[in-house]
């Protein structure tokens, strides 16, 4: 049953993405920035998906600490790992966009910089998990770190934004420019498609994490025999 739900979501995501690619190609141009502006269809939804993922990770971490059920730990790591992939998409597309518009690969733009710090934070989460072998300790400590990381995210965003208003951008171009009205519908649909893709990946990863725990349990049983 779960399998069918996942395949259904994947199919829906694929259809939406295909339709969006067509729509994206026939939409009229954005005046200031030209073609490259279409990258926003992936750049922004990837960031929104990743940030939603980090919120889910927070809830999962707190739930694990309260209920001690490992399903929450598996959810936390699945959502965080997939979130890292989508944040990477955001960073790379943002960098390419910056190269085309501003001529530099990295311009210390407040949002991109905050995304980079978040990426480093959640990469730290995965590295911490790798360093801990005992499952309960790993889940507990990872949950604590996830809570600290999530508390940091808004502070990071605001502090970097204040920092960048002191040092103005290389060229003053707001990222959204003049956002054409008929683009919002396409953007929202693409957001849905990316959310679905994110959810499918998370579910697969979650199942893998559960399977991994079962393997560890079997391994211990076999060695005990």
């Amino acid at each position: 049953m779960r399998q069918k739900v996942m395949i259904g979501m994947l199919a829906l995501a694929a259809i939406l993405l295909a339709r969006n690619l067509y729509v994206i190609s026939i939409l009229p141009d954005e005046v200031n920035q030209g073609q490259i502006f279409r990258i926003i269809f992936f750049h922004v939804p990837a960031a929104i998906a990743a940030m939603t993922g980090s919120a889910v990770a927070l809830v999962a971490s707190v739930l694990f600490l309260v209920k001690k059920d490992f399903i929450y730990d598996s959810l936390a790591v699945a959502v965080t790992e997939v979130g890292l992939a989508f944040l990477a998409v955001n960073l790379v597309t943002g960098s390419i966009w910056a190269r085309v518009i501003w001529g530099v690969w990295w311009a210390w733009d407040p949002r991109l910089t905050s995304a980079l710090v978040c990426w480093v934070l959640y990469a730290g989460y995965l590295i911490l998990r790798q360093a801990l072998e005992e499952p309960t300790q790993r889940a507990t400590f990872a949950a604590v770190y996830s809570i600290f990381a999530f508390a940091d995210v808004p502070i990071v965003y605001f502090s970097i934004r204040w920092w960048r208003t002191i040092h103005p951008q290389p060229v003053f171009f707001s990222k959204t420019g003049s956002f054409p009205a008929d683009w919002s519908a396409a953007l929202r649909l693409n957001l849905l498609a990316i959310f679905l893709f994110y959810a499918v990946l998370t579910m697969i990863r979650l199942r893998q994490e559960q399977a991994q725990r079962e393997i560890d349990y079997l391994r211990r049983t076999v060695h005990a025999m």
Binding site: G124, F141, F148, V156, I160
Partner: protein
Amino acid sequence: MRFLRQVMVITAKDLRAEMRTKEAINASIAFAIVILLILSFAFDPTEDTTREISGGLLWIVFTFAGTLVLNRSFARELPNDCLDGLLAAPVPGSVLFLGKALSNFVLILAIEAVALPVFGIFYNVRWTRQFWPLLLVQALGTWGFTAVGTVFSALTVNIRLREVMLPLLVYPLMIPMLLGAMLLTAQLVMGQPITGDSVVWLRLLFGFDIIFTALALVLMETVLRG
């Protein structure tokens, strides 16, 4: 207040232990001076422009040297099962956190108290012009660093590669606080007072300290039992 008295007992124990051997504090101060020396080679100390990055330089020195102190904080309890002894004590995790954090705070402030004059000498900067605001910024920034660092010192005490994991986990969390502290310190060291524009950074430091101290107090018990 029983809570405070328990905290003071732990702080006093840690500080007394440190003062007997002076291991961590000597190593950290030496390390701080070495880093300042190396940074003097990297950035010409006589240049005026170097004064502008003084805040960043100082806080790099403080965080690197402070990490040594933080690492020792719980690592010191490992031999002879002292950590188990601490955990068996009938005090809540928050008391242990506050006690250790306060002792680390005092030690790192001591390192800063040595590093600042040395910095003043190497870079020929009269950093005492805004002394009291500078002291405030140092205290706020150091407390934020210490609060987060103490929790993660407990968390990483039994992990392999502890010395690498502690900075790796703590520094990204510290980025907003370091941003504010570096900017304010640079301003104050150059003699400019904290104006309306910079007050927002002071508020950031306060907010950071409050949020992360609260989180640390709540989660320390989990980390210690986990």
